[in-house]
Amino acid sequence: MKKIVAFSLSATLLLGACKKSFLDEKPRAQTPEDYFASSTKAPEEIVTSVYSKLYDWNQHCFSWIGVSSIADDNADKGSEPGDSGTDKDQLDNYSFTSTSASFNEVWNANFEGIARVNKALDMLDKLNVDPNLKTRYQGEVRFLRAYYYFQLVRMFGGVPVISRVPITEDEIRQVNVRNTADEVYDLIEEDLQFASASLPENYLIEKGRATKWAAVGMLAKVQMYRQKWDDCAINCESLINSGLFELHPKYEEIWREVGEWSSESIWEIQAKGDFPAKGIQQYFSVQAPRGAGGLGWGFNTPTQKLYDAYEAGDVRRDATIITSGQVLWDGWQTNAAAPNKYYNYKCYISESQETFANNRDQTNKNLRVLRYADLLLIYAEALNEKGQTGAALQQLNAVRQRAKIGNSMAATQDEVRLAIWDERRLELAMEHDRLFDLRRTGQIADAIKADGKNFEIGKHELFPIPQRQIDLSNGLMTQNPGY
């Protein structure tokens, strides 16, 4: 009997249990509700988060450098022979597989960027934002969505098209289903069209935001990839006719601090070198000269073939390639005994002559995403394909002249086409463009084989879909041919 009493006592205690208020521990990080209720900057900050992805290690650093540059014929892995950089050796020598880590990294990064765009678009709709500003913000983030998708489609071919926050079961399922490359490109063009119509031509202070001309220029480039030559030429012309851009006279200055947002620059990812510094995470230190007296890890080194490809007198060679042992423009002495003969000059930061906060991981190096010389060569290619070979040569030669070399000797449409492609190789060397150009122009197999690598036709034209993503898709995601 007493046992029952004891139990009922405890039961009484239990029934009186519900002091819920005591257990309500409020989260110490902001909830969306509190944030939207209190912040006047919410719309702007949500847009900024989309740009923020551009600075991340997995977006624009080691893995991206690996897949977009080390895998081409302008660059080698670099560093020391045994230093594989996780899988950069595989990217360099074309022994990569679907489990090579870099692919999953860049895949994740770009899709995270896309997700941030979609979240921003969703929230901009729900928040009370000035209509003009809202249109601009939508333009900015859609420009960035196009940018992220352009990266993905060039690396992997068709990928899942996700244009809004997946909420329904079907939408969640669809994030694992690949669309065709054309469908991806359609979204890219649509986003860029929208951006070009809704963005301002320029910003007085906030350089780094997407502009109308960044959108127009990107659109032209995308249309070049799609061989939509008429549309491409029209967009090039409209950008050229804006009169806002011209080639910067000194090629070697383009990638220096003095060349930031020069007349040649169409869009850059803006970095900040003084304290507190914010740059593309370790972009400099991964590529900077290695070894005793070095500044970094020394990956992504220019090949001898690239070095030799420049004509005599071409100023671009010594502006693109550091030769170990040389004194750089700011007086910095490189080490002749460094592990690699060549290093990437375009990533170089002068610690003495440029803004530098004693932080090699966060430097002021702006990534020049699109510049006028690129656009002139796009225009040249469009004109040439449209049969206007003479006009094409004019654009090509403008680029050559700035490089202090003579006019092209090409004459026929075919010759001019090849000349433009070769020019793109040299003009845009080490600017994450070459590999995708090789793929676009069908030169990839010959070029990579000529570089002594094991290129398999019908397979290596695209990178493998990361095995991780296939595993996670429950069989919905398909692999590229050959992998």
Partner: protein
């Protein structure tokens, strides 16, 4: 360097209060005695003394409250014996002493006052006769237990010269796996009956005198009465949602009634590296590096010195311990004050830890019905921290130059990428210090003869500080720091816990007895942390302030935020023990827990358990003379684990996703993480079947336990498709099921020889099988980063947590034809390891990896031998484990730039002239993680060896000393091990332990000490 002024003041205050009390007590006792002889000189005392002989009565119980019969009670002129209920009456006078004696209990005496109703508790002399264990919100006689509880008593703790109680119980209890970390001031990892979670926290719950905590480094081992480990769910379920990893209950000493006793225990000893890995010397290093076709050709001119880096960065460390304990009490109160100073100088140069711990525990009998008391531990520590990565650097550094040049500058070479490890150590100025106040105050009221109410309020306050100053230095062009940086950090926190319990018991007839506890408890913990840094602070010691920074670049970064963990809990608990003639025992517990870590709908949960035991040796059908004692036990229960970060179920904003526009940084914010709004705790259901036995008049005793723990809904970060846009591509949810199945054996023998040598031998062994049963929606996930871009472990269904997942090798390529005819990694040449294409798809990729065991041992075991002969005492502990694997990760951290190699690797390397099939060619590159790096982790260690001598009483008496013992002790004296690295003890998080990269090697400690009792 360290300002202990505050501490000394505080100690002084406590001490003086205590001394005054002691003096007053002693004085009054002295006066009373003289009064008796001289006769009525003092009026006051005369008044006290003018009393008649009267009848004193009361109950005698053991520490668990159980009645003790047959206790002899002696007054000056009369004596009595307690009855079955423990009750006695005896005629005596106030001022006389009553002495209680019983063969199984320590003699106890009390000075009589005019309070005539007494309540006496006796402490068992030999704990094995009727040991009492702490079981959570109460105590129990060991023989009444229906669950599995392991206990280690004070005398077995203090014999180990280690800092924490958990280190001291290593190898002593079945089912309790302790893995020590070598660094000073570190605390070992503890796993009770396997690992039941991947990321939900796997350490047991610690309860110190009823106060829940997660760090027991503040407690002096000598202050501990017992460490009780609750293992099965019948024992742990009273702690509900926090109990799934087991519970360790630590009880600290209280003062002993009677005259003041003072104990001093001091020891000092040295520590040394036990186990050096032999590295290549300059010549072999140069040959190997050049052969590896590294970038640098190392010539004779490059060899400017010869350094054994492990010698260069290590030293003979030391350990010192001084403890004073003052204990005393009268009929109203007991007091204990202890002061302890502990200092450990690690084997890593400049790395040390010191701690001052003061404890004051008091009890007061306010009336016959009301008792109160307090426990309080105050501790302060300071440590000089050095980067443990120095061990890895020393392993990697080129041996070809002097650590220091004759002119005092640091040596360096351009022929290797590894910086000078000695410079790194000496140029690190990193300190941390803090204090902690942990204690409780309690009151207990007897509501009747068999019911009492207890309230206890426990608090834990702490503050930790860190200060790192990086001075400018230039060792080499690549090892330099061009500015000065001061970084400071602080965290402060508190925890309170308020328990209210009713304890009662009753009998129903002569056969049925019941005991019960019901209660309520509430808990809250919270805190704040700061972190700040500034460049340009001048290097002199007195300028360790951020504001001193004279730099025009005010390079200050600041952070202030909540502590990583904060929360609230509220619980209702109950336990009933039923005994039928002490033959059939039942324990039922129930706890209802609420935790703020979970969403409203999952906030409350119920955790029941039941245990049944049958003392078969009491039954008639059992043949007599086989077992003296045999108890069959079985229990079932459900417990939980809520150890995750707060607010994991709430969708939050991620800020700081910044971008630059113009020359300004703009704050970016978004919802970056996908959260599971239905998060709940991990639930472990445990079944236990065991028996306890004694044979041959108690000479032999043993315990066997079979257990099966099944954790349902273990927290796991399930990977998500990138398209869903989570910033980590994962979501924390209750995805995994994990099981631990095992069997535990404990066996002991005690005896005494005719010549008076008494001895006991105890052994225990635990076999545990850990397995991830499934990952729900989750995919196998990789862990175990090797710091070289690769990883070595994976959590996958069907495997133990943290299984090694690596490539298979099949010898070494001897010919080019062999390479050409098999799938191989690009660039493979003769002398490289053959990586096996296990899935036969013609390429070598992650899909070829296989599981090759894990860091979790199949069996761990310990043995303890104690001997006493006349004045000599001897103790020996052995500890070991078998069936675990180790990944020798330090061998794989090579980025190409002439890292040193082990002597054996260098000497035995494959060359055209030495076509071995076991060692690869000279190679400086980052290797694939393969079974080449997997080694067996079996080891057996002579954990402790102690010899003591107690000085003769005659000598002791002359010097007014009651006891006097000198001893020598050696910790970790010798290890027999299969593993070739520094240590087989490699703690780590559940999914990636057992990888030796930056490890602090275990050291050997040899000490001598002295205990004195005044």
């Amino acid at each position: 360097m360290l300002d202990y002024l505050q501490m000394h003041k505080l100690q002084g205050t406590i001490l003086s209060h205590f001394m005054i009390k002691i003096l007053a007590y002693t004085l009054s006792a002295t006066l009373k005695n003289s009064q008796k002889r001289i006769g009525g000189l003092l009026l006051l005392l005369a008044l006290v003394w003018q009393v008649q002989a009267q009848t004193y009565s009361g109950y005698v119980t053991d520490l668990s409250g159980a009645s003790i019969s047959n206790v002899r009670v002696e007054a000056r002129d009369a004596e009595a014996t307690t009855n079955e209920a423990g009750f006695f009456t005896v005629a005596a006078e106030a001022g006389q002493t009553l002495v209680f004696s019983h063969p199984n209990f320590q003699q106890y005496s009390t000075l009589l006052t005019d309070i005539t109703e007494l309540s006496i508790q006796l402490t068992a002399t030999d704990e094995s006769i009727n040991p009492v264990v702490v079981v959570g919100y109460g105590t129990s006689r060991k023989k009444d237990l229906t669950g599995s509880v392991g206990s280690v008593q004070a005398k077995d703790l203090v014999v180990q010269p280690v800092m924490t109680a958990t280190s001291a119980i290593q190898g002593k209890l079945a089912g309790v796996q302790i893995t020590n970390y070598g660094g000073p001031g570190t605390t070992p990892t503890v796993r009770i009956r396997g690992t039941g979670s991947v990321i939900g926290g796997v350490e047991p719950l610690y309860v110190v005198d009823g106060v829940i905590t997660d760090d027991i480094r503040n407690i002096n081992t000598a202050d501990i009465v017992s460490v009780d480990v609750l293992k099965d769910a019948s024992s742990t379920a009273i702690y509900g949602v926090r109990a799934s990893n087991g519970v360790i209950l630590i009880t600290t000493k209280t003062g002993k009634r009677g005259a003041l006793s003072i104990d001093y225990n001091g020891s000092y000893g040295i520590k040394a590296l036990t186990n050096k890995v032999r590295m290549a010397g300059p010549n072999l290093f140069a040959i190997y590096s050049n052969e590896a076709a590294g970038t640098f050709a190392i010539t004779e001119n490059d060899i400017t010195g010869r350094t054994d880096w492990m010698d260069a960065i290590t030293r003979t460390g030391s350990q010192m311990n001084h403890a004073f304990t003052f204990s005393g009490g009268n009929e109203f109160s007991t007091s204990l004050l202890s002061i302890n100073y502990y200092k450990e100088e690690g084997i890593l140069l400049g790395n040390d830890y010191e701690r001052v711990a003061v404890r004051s525990n008091n009890t007061f009998d306010l009336s016959r019905r009301i008792k109160a008391g307090s426990t309080m531990g105050l501790s302060k520590y300071h440590s000089n921290n050095k980067p443990y990565s120095a061990f890895t650097s020393a392993y990697n550094a080129a041996p070809i130059y002097n650590a220091k040049n004759p002119d005092g500058t640091y040596g360096y070479t351009t022929k290797s990428n590894v910086g000078n490890p000695l410079a790194t150590l000496e140029l690190t100025d990193d300190q941390s210090w803090g204090f902690r106040l942990q204690g409780s105050a309690w009151g207990e009221v007897a509501l009747g003869r068999n019911l009492s109410f207890r309230t206890s309020y426990g608090a834990d306050l702490f503050e930790n500080n860190g200060q790192n100053f990086q001075n400018k230095y230039y060792v080499s062009p690549t090892q330099r720091y061009d500015t000065t940086t001061l970084s400071v950090s602080q965290n402060q926190g508190y925890r309170w816990i308020w328990d209210n319990t009713f304890n009662g018991s009753f009998q129903a007839g002569s056969q049925h007895s019941f005991k019960y506890v019901v209660g309520h408890t509430a808990e809250r913990y919270d805190g704040v942390q700061y972190w700040m840094s500034r460049d340009g602070v001048a290097p002199q010691q007195q300028y360790r302030y951020l504001n001193i920074g004279t730099s025009t670049v005010q390079a200050n970064l600041g952070y202030q935020g909540p502590l990583g963990d904060y929360g609230r809990r509220e619980s209702y608990l109950g336990r009933v023990n039923y005994s039928f003639e002490d033959r059939i025992l039942f324990t039922g517990t129930f706890r209802r827990d609420g935790s703020s870590k979970f969403p409203l709908q999952n906030r409350w949960g119920n955790f029941p358990s039941a245990g049944l035991a049958w003392v078969l040796s009491e039954e008639d059908f059992m043949p007599k003379g086989v077992f003296d004692y045999f108890k069959l036990r079985s229990s079932w229960g459900r417990v939980g684990n809520d150890r995750i970060s707060p607010s994991e179920f709430v969708t939050l904003l991620s800020s700081g996703l910044n971008a630059v526009f113009g020359n300004n940084i703009y704050n970016g914010t978004t919802i970056a993480e996908i959260k599971d709004p239905n998060l709940r705790w991990e639930t472990t259901t445990e079944f236990d079947l065991g028996f306890d036995w004694e044979l041959a008049g108690g000479h032999w005793h043993g315990i066997v336990d079979l257990y099966h723990k099944y954790t349902n809904g273990a927290l796991f970060n399930i990977p998500l498709s990138a398209g869903l846009g989570d910033n980590n591509n994962s979501m924390l949810t209750n995805a995994a099921d994990i099981s631990n199945k095992g069997i535990e054996f404990t066996i002991g023998y005690k005896g005494i020889t005719q010549k008076g040598l008494s001895y006991q031998i105890n052994g225990n062994a635990t076999f545990n099988k850990n397995q991830v049963e499934n990952l729900g929606l989750g995919q196998p996930t990789n862990f175990g980063s090797l710091n070289n871009g690769h990883f070595a472990t994976r959590v996958a269904a069907g495997q133990p947590i943290g299984a090694f997942w690596v490539y298979r090798t099949d010898g070494v390529y001897q010919t080019q034809a062999e390479i050409d005819n098999s799938p191989h990694v690009f660039g493979t040449v003769k002398g490289d390891l053959k990586i096996v294409d296990t899935n036969g798809d013609g390429i070598i990729s992650d899909l070829d990896r296989e599981y090759v065991g894990s860091y979790q041992p199949k069996c761990f075991f310990g043995t303890n031998v104690q001997m006493n002969y006349k004045r000599w005492d001897f103790n020996m502990d052995l500890f070991g484990n078998v069936g675990n694997m180790i990944f020798n990760g330090k061998k794989t951290v090579r980025y190409g730039g002439n890292y040193n190699v082990e002597y054996e690797v260098g000497m035995n390397r494959w060359t055209a002239d030495n076509p071995t099939n076991t060692e690869k060619r000279a190679f400086n590159g980052v290797p694939l993680p393969s079974d080449y790096y997997i080694e067996k982790g079996n080891y057996l260690r002579l954990n402790n060896l102690s010899l003591g001598y107690t000085l003769p009483e005659a000598l002791a008496k002359k010097s007014k000393v009651k006891g006097y013992r000198v001893y020598v002790t050696a910790q970790n004296l010798f290890t027999w091990k299969s593993y070739s690295g520094f240590t087989s003890e490699l703690p780590g998080s559940p999914a990636e332990a057992g990888i030796e990269i930056s490890v602090y090697p275990t050291s050997r400690t040899i000490m001598s000490g002295l205990s004195i009792q005044f």
